[in-house]
């Protein structure tokens, strides 16, 4: 008798938890994969495709499915790799050189407006709509919106686009790290 009560009680508890869990699974269902958003937030959003994917989000999706390693983002460089490793609790890797080299100085594209023939090919290539112009009219780049992805370089038939470093202004100047006794020690 005692055993029966115990079994029934446990079954009841298990059953009710099952119902609660079942309800919660439907009620609080998460659409999509939230880890993708977190990875995407770390990636620099240059949309350059140097990682081999068609933009930052596809790469984030691939990372989340463990289909791609975390070291394929040259614009992000070391800091992005460290942040990704921290988020995903994986080992920090060296940047894969096959994907490209990391440049500490951010670059923007500049159109040599004298030579632009107005072919619109770069406009179609720009992943962030940072190029302004129309057919047979001069194009120009909205520097503030340019991510420096270099995707506009190959389609240009007259090679009139240059990558130049962003000029540092007083507004974005920052204090350098003080020199310490034993050099800068990273954690």
């Amino acid at each position: 008798m005692l055993i029966l009560i115990a079994v029934l009680t446990l079954s009841f508890i298990a059953g009710s938890f099952g119902l609660i869990l079942g309800y919660a699974a439907i009620r609080f269902k998460v659409e999509g994969n939230p880890i993708v958003d977190q990875i995407d937030a770390i990636l620099p959003q240059t949309q350059c495709g140097q990682c081999g994917f068609a933009g930052c989000r596809p790469y984030a999706e691939a990372i989340s499915k463990e289909e791609a390693p975390i070291n394929q983002c040259p614009p992000g460089g070391e800091s992005t790799i460290v942040a990704l490793a921290d988020l995903l609790d994986v080992e920090i890797l060296e940047l894969n050189e096959e994907n490209g080299a990391h440049s500490e100085i951010p670059l923007v594209a500049i159109i040599d407006e004298m030579n632009c023939i107005g072919c619109t090919l770069c406009i179609q290539a720009c992943p962030v709509d940072a190029i302004l112009g129309s057919a047979k009219h001069m194009h120009t780049i909205i520097e503030d919106e340019c991510t420096g992805c270099e995707l506009c370089l190959p389609p240009c038939p007259v090679d009139c686009i240059d990558m130049v470093p962003i000029k540092q202004t007083l507004a974005d100047w920052k204090w350098p790290a003080p020199e310490t006794l034993s050099g800068n020690q990273h954690a």
Partner: protein
């Protein structure tokens, strides 16, 4: 007299070195051969020049402005010619250059024509006062150079109960506010009266450190002479950094401005005495902010003193006025020894923020040792932060942790660095960490924007593709319909033509059958050679048939 004085945490008793520059009375500096006037001299949106190279300008003429709310225009300090508008070295830690007007004074010092308000004219309303303050280019002269009109406008929206006038001047060596109070107390009170008119505070407290007895006396004298009410002049103990906004508020009111809070959120507003004087000049004399009192002092200068200095005066000119250097390798600091900025040359101009030019001896910088965790930095921190923790996290680049330890509440007063027995440049670490965090925020902002733009573009391209597909589909369908219709029409005509052929064939066949039938036709012979009987029977049957037919009908 003074209302009870509260205290703030930490702070340092420093050698004040104020007497050196107080030996001479306040003087008026002559114009340098060339004034280097920075185009933007405030915190906020940058100015754009409104004059061009070669223009002749008069004192008080507008040279650069911005339409943004948080901005302050710049005016010509004297009459002369704009020789150039170019990038010159300025007082900035980066050593970078910034856009400056180069003005060659003509020596006439002509002023633009202005309407000077007579004392009898009706009092200006709040908006008019604020407008005057804004167009005069007045910024906080305590060092923050935040546009005063913008500050007052925001503060007014919150409602100010207590107005605090900052005459603490807590940093060693600096005496510009001291001399201003000693000599121009009535002008300062005039400025305070305008601030009171704008803010309608319940009370006004003027805080002055007790190492300036002459200034306190002068201010009290002026107070009794003025008709202003609800004002107290309070002497506060000399303790660095009592002149910090939040520290002074704590000292005078006992209220603490919390982390990430602004003083006017608790109904308190601080203004520097220099700013008050500038407000009075702007409203009573319609004179924009084109000069300020600058202390030139330090062990490396011959005759330390204070000068009314036109903005844009190169530091070298002030040094000459003060008798020149007395040491071989002077170290120039703009500001005080605790928070000042080391200048790379003496060709750097005076700006609205310049309160002091300090000439120090080049000292061997102490070599930083490892932190011994003595905790003295924590004891002196006036903001009650944990400087040691902030140091570790800044050094190991754990910036998110520095933020959770309230790095941004650090006022960079330098107390922690001053007491550190290991000579660790703590403030440098905090500045570095702040810069990195700001940089990270800028990057996040940009990448968020890029993400949005990319997603928008993707969506637009996808939509276009869908629309194109739809269009193609419709066109395909229309084409298919057209083809089908054509086909149907063709088939119909074909069918028609084939129908007439068929009819002929049928006719022919029928005729053939007829002919064949005709050919095959044999007359029946059972009705010939009939007997009468037979004939009768036939007739009878015919009659019956006939009758039946009739009956049927």
């Amino acid at each position: 007299m003074p209302n009870s004085v509260y205290s703030f945490h930490g702070g340092l008793h420093l050698d004040d070195h104020k007497s050196e520059s107080l030996t001479q009375p306040l003087q008026i500096a002559s114009f340098a051969d060339e004034l280097i006037l920075k185009v933007s001299q405030h915190i906020g949106e940058p100015n754009t020049p409104v004059v061009t190279i070669g223009d002749r300008v008069k004192r008080g003429q507008l040279l650069a402005e911005s339409s943004a709310l948080v901005s302050a225009p710049v005016h010509a300090p004297t009459s002369g010619t704009i020789k150039a508008i170019e990038n010159r070295s300025i007082a900035h830690a980066s050593g970078q250059k910034a856009e400056c007007f180069i003005i060659v004074p003509d020596g006439k010092d002509e002023a633009i024509d202005v309407e000077i308000r007579s004392a009898e004219s009706t009092a200006l309303d709040k908006a008019a006062l604020l407008d005057q303050i804004r167009s005069a280019g007045i910024v906080g002269l305590g060092g923050a150079v935040f546009p005063t009109a913008a500050k007052l406008t925001t503060a007014n929206q919150h409602g100010i109960k207590t107005l605090i006038i900052n005459g603490a001047e807590c940093e060693p060596y600096i005496t510009c506010d001291d001399l201003l109070m000693q000599n121009y107390a009535s002008i300062i009170f005039k400025g305070i009266s305008y601030l009171q008119a704008i803010l309608q505070p319940e009370k006004t407290i003027i805080g002055i450190e007790d190492n300036k007895p002459a200034a306190i006396k002068a201010m009290q004298q002026a107070l009794t002479e003025s008709s202003l009410s609800n004002i107290t002049v309070t002497s506060i103990p000399t303790l660095y950094p009592s002149g910090g906004e939040k520290q002074l508020i704590k000292l005078l009111t006992g209220f603490e401005v919390h982390s990430s809070q602004l003083s006017f959120e608790i109904g308190i507003l601080c203004q520097n005495v220099g700013t008050c004087a500038a407000i009075s000049q702007a409203i009573d004399k319609s004179r924009p902010l084109t000069s300020r009192v600058v202390t030139v002092t330090g062990p490396g200068i011959k005759n330390p003193g204070n000068w009314f200095t036109p903005l844009g005066t190169p530091v070298s000119h002030l040094i000459n006025l003060a008798g020149g250097y007395t040491i071989e390798k002077p170290k120039l600091i703009m500001g005080g020894p605790m928070m000042g900025l080391t200048l790379k040359s003496d060709q750097i101009p005076v700006v609205k923020a310049t309160n002091t030019i300090l000439v120090m001896d080049q000292q061997e910088q102490e070599i930083a040792q490892e932190c011994i965790r003595c905790g003295r930095c924590t004891e002196v921190c006036p903001v009650q932060l944990l400087p040691q923790q902030l140091y570790w996290y800044s050094r190991t680049h754990q910036f998110n942790l520095t933020e959770s330890y309230h790095l941004f509440d650090c006022i960079e007063c330098g107390c922690c660095s001053a007491v550190c027995p290991s000579h660790i440049p703590l403030v440098q670490y905090y500045r570095f960490a702040k810069g990195e965090i700001w940089d990270q925020r800028r990057k996040t902002y940009k990448s968020d924007r890029s993400r949005k733009r990319h997603e928008f573009r993707d969506a637009r391209v996808a939509k276009q593709k869908l629309l194109d597909e739809e269009k193609r589909k419709l066109k395909r369908e229309a084409l298919a319909k057209k083809k089908a219709a054509e086909l149907a029409a063709k088939e119909k005509t074909e069918a028609e033509s084939s129908n007439s052929q068929n009819a002929d064939a049928v006719q022919a066949a029928l005729e053939r059958v007829k002919a064949r039938k005709k050919a095959q036709q044999v007359d029946p012979k059972n009705t010939t050679d009939l007997t009468t009987d037979q004939q009768d029977q036939i007739d009878e049957a015919d009659a019956r048939r006939e009758k039946n037919k009739v009956d049927d009908a």
